[in-house]
Symmetry: C3
Subunit: 317 residues, 3 copies
Amino acid sequence: MKQFISALDVPGIPALVQEALHYKNNPLADRQLGQGKRLGLMFFNPSLRTRLSTQIAAQQLGMESIVFNAGQDGWAFEFADGAVMNGSTVEHIKDAAPVLSSYFDILCIRTFPGLVDRDQDYAEFVLQQFIKHIRIPVVSLESATLHPLQSLADIITLEEHKPAARRPKVVLSWAPHIKSIPQCVSNSFAQWVNAWGQADFVITHPEGYELAEDYTRGAQITHNQQEALQDADFVYVKNWSSYNDYGKVLHDGAGWMLDEQKLKAAPAAKVMHCLPVRRNLELSDEILDGPRSLVSQQAANRVWSAQAVLSRILKSL
Amino acid sequence: MKQFISALDVPGIPALVQEALHYKNNPLADRQLGQGKRLGLMFFNPSLRTRLSTQIAAQQLGMESIVFNAGQDGWAFEFADGAVMNGSTVEHIKDAAPVLSSYFDILCIRTFPGLVDRDQDYAEFVLQQFIKHIRIPVVSLESATLHPLQSLADIITLEEHKPAARRPKVVLSWAPHIKSIPQCVSNSFAQWVNAWGQADFVITHPEGYELAEDYTRGAQITHNQQEALQDADFVYVKNWSSYNDYGKVLHDGAGWMLDEQKLKAAPAAKVMHCLPVRRNLELSDEILDGPRSLVSQQAANRVWSAQAVLSRILKSL
Amino acid sequence: MKQFISALDVPGIPALVQEALHYKNNPLADRQLGQGKRLGLMFFNPSLRTRLSTQIAAQQLGMESIVFNAGQDGWAFEFADGAVMNGSTVEHIKDAAPVLSSYFDILCIRTFPGLVDRDQDYAEFVLQQFIKHIRIPVVSLESATLHPLQSLADIITLEEHKPAARRPKVVLSWAPHIKSIPQCVSNSFAQWVNAWGQADFVITHPEGYELAEDYTRGAQITHNQQEALQDADFVYVKNWSSYNDYGKVLHDGAGWMLDEQKLKAAPAAKVMHCLPVRRNLELSDEILDGPRSLVSQQAANRVWSAQAVLSRILKSL
């Protein structure tokens, strides 16, 4: 594996999931693999769960990691070709990328969408500029449109908790929020569940919240949340802002919070969320504090997700 | 030892002091003890001495440590049960704690008092919420009311410099400052000297600066600084704001700075301060630059304090 | 070597360059040398290239390193002897330095000039206060007037690319910028090229941009850029503010950007810059994207520069 920015980079998801579960049972199985290798973690947006889980995965593979924050640590990049740099940007990506390539063996990058210009966000402009100019493998720690390490952790969690004898029903259920939230976790979850191919997949959201078809194709989509929840095995709860009316909050969310009342239609359902979760807005306390909740397990699986990915990339160096 | 937030967590202070002195002579004696273990250092308040000394202690025990700043790194916690999270907090402690429990083996936390609501500060609300929801040992890197790693370093320093043949006289002497300062270092020093039980202990401060009795019980308290200093072996200089008129600065401090003139009454006295110290406001240059000062030794002993505590906790895992 | 703040600390530059090149071929040749040693990296000014390259060098020597930002991490220092500290500074260098001496084996410091008071900047007040009070070796990560790790990397790059059979012509050519920039990279490059003694050295800049003679002595100085460039083997491009009219920007820079047109007079010239570079203001895209540019190699050589210096200092401990 030469990069990891989307499900499309993974030749076979089930095998990668098994590698992650292998590390979960044997965290230090490959502690020599990363010896003498260096991981750069570059953040354009702050992070804790992602930063910590990736650093831990690197440690367990014997790699050194160094964290740095673009902008905050003083690095404002220019991405435009031919720019006359007499303004606020201080270094062109064309000059920074070779330096990062010489300092690190793998570069992890977190970027974020502006939520204003959909074409630019969905072109993954910043991430792709790095990939274009860098000579080492790039791992996404969340980008403008996708969050593949989260999604792999989600699939690992599905694999661990799926019913033994039948194909699970997985529901992605839109939830209320007070802010305009990127579509990346939802896009990415949809992409990975579809690519995994081992679930019946339903997406439910209010009108106007349709996600990009590139990711949802293969899922059943409905605006009727209660119908979607019927007999679900897993309900993944997540807010996102509108893709069509880009970045907008179209709905106050009334009636869309998931609670136990709604899950009477799905008595066996497990509930997932990528965290951080707005309690009693997206999801009720009773669910999060009860036995249905898998949110802690998902977060814990972030380590094994990152470790499986870094391991694959280390083996390809 | 299953947690370290107060002197009450330590079964025997003298034995812990000896363990710290053992590490001072043999920093790498237990470099295998922490192998494969991970320490999280979580700061709600910035820190340098505490952060550095704890990271060094962890390194010397072979542990990996990862530092993160709540708030600054983007993590604003909700602590209230049942909160509808439609405001500025982004993650509930009930959701964050299990994640931290899965990522780390020991969690070190620094919290701070608001100095407005005494009941909330003295209930150690934030620290106790972490302890309630987390499943790994917690070490305080200073809390709203106590600073136990500092106090252990202080006791180590007393042990190293105490007179050979008699019980030392230890004086905690209030000092001027320009800001409203927490009581935690003073509370904690009082608690530890009392729990250590190997000194005659006097506390002196202006009227209105009485500390909480829970910590001072056992000490002699006087508003007459000169009387307190008489024949002292150790004078610990520290400012704190009022406990009774909570968080207030009641006195401009005139006449309370410690200088050589005052120490004519205690010719053998050693002088201590936890640093950072406001020179020529709390303590005079002549003392800090002279042979009486133990402030550098105290700060150096922070490493051995942290190492002894982490070692005890590692052995109990 | 007991400190590294200027070319004057280096007994023989060619030998140090050879040591750096040895590490470039064998990064882990001395991975045991720093075992059990600790490097503090203290920044008064943010940094990325310098921070990353020094941390990498330390890792490759087996040293632990800990980064901290004075100010940002809460440490505002007082440097004045006898200060009554009732203002904004919270800790005196006289108290901080012994603590740092006990926590670390080597201290790396980055300071910066105020560009207002030339005497204070050129006395290297902050750096010298640290050196005065600290008991461990100090390495400059850039100071008010010099940037020796950059200059060593520059000399390494000259050594690697110099013509085989003759003495190279090296030109330091002033470039436009939109801000008032310190003289340190330029001073330092001049000092090192002169101390290296293996090049014909020309400095060119507009009138009023004369650098301090202490560093330039030995170089030919001209205001005629085109004359300076004639038959150059290396052109080092850099902006700096005025030394005589201290810190001022005297010239809008029109006509001083280096481009291919100007280099018709020096067809074999390699072009250097310490990065970050303002494209199409200091240097044209065509040069930076073409085969003349050594800027990536210079940045990559920062690692070997730091590794050679830390190695020398470790051997002297």
